[in-house]
Symmetry: C2
Subunit: 137 residues, 2 copies
DNA sequence: AAACCATTCATACTAAAGTACCAAAAAGCT
DNA sequence: AGCTTTTTGGTACTTTAGTATGAATGGTTT
């Protein structure tokens, strides 16, 4: 909402500035009309592209993660790290090597994660974590 | 690439048309300069927003599935069905019940899928399938 | 200091996943 | 009809995943 107001304000200000420029070129002869029109074109193309970026970012938003929800579910930092690696498709042994801890410890973390995510399997945990935006899609 | 060429062509044509309009208003007096500038502004804002839409759609694309790639990898219809259920987090037994076939058959399909997707585990298969847009994110 | 939590690790076990190999219907193609 | 691929299923086996339980360590809170 704030973004929309900002964009429209910028639009109105740009219009006013450009009309002033139009008047100016009107007074000082019509030799620079093309230049003014070019500036108008570039500026408004820029505004269009700016709105573009804003929208494109809002579309990507579901890709974002909700760390608050992670803590709400009582998932610890280490457990969260393990969750990320599970989602990448690594085995317990591989995760252990990556985080420099034993496979046994990974099993403990995974077991805790399954309880906290209310999942029966690691594949289900991945699905649930993505639905809850705990991990990027 | 084709889109980019199209957009730039549209830009150049618009510029030429607007310069012609500029000349016209120059001949018939300067009373309509503001109108010309307004048209330029609206047209280029529209172009910017058009590029917006194109980009926004390409961002949403990863949500789409590429059935051609599924066939390219030699994944059969039934195997693909199993892949979808794996990604939902179901166990082999659960998939068997859902598709009304034995767990043994699911194991066969999964084993074939892992070879075709070049994955070691079903979790990795999910990750790879999503990267290749075989299944929706 | 005592209590608490996160992290680590181990053992022993059960369950699920995955491999290998085979085989037989069923469906599709030429 | 003959061939090929798909789909189905089984057995036997290995590997990985997951559970249950207990325990040690270090950091934080009360």
């Amino acid at each position: 909402m704030k973004k929309t107001i900002f964009v429209f304000s910028a639009l109105i200000i740009s219009l006013l500035v450009l009309f002033k420029l139009g008047e100016y070129s009107f007074i000082s002869g019509n030799t620079s009309i093309e230049i003014v029109i070019s500036i108008v074109a570039i500026v408004f193309l820029g505004i269009g592209l700016y709105i573009n970026r804003r929208k494109a970012q809002s579309v990507r938003e579901p890709n974002h993660v909700d760390f608050k929800k992670v803590k709400t579910l009582g998932i610890s930092d280490r457990e969260y790290e393990v969750l990320i690696e599970i989602a990448k498709g690594l085995s317990n042994k591989e995760i252990g090597k990556k985080l420099h801890i034993s496979e046994s410890t990974i099993k403990t973390h995974v077991s805790n994660l399954l309880v906290k995510l209310n999942a029966k399997r690691r594949t289900q945990a991945i699905q649930i974590a993505k639905e809850l935006s705990l991990i990027p899609q």
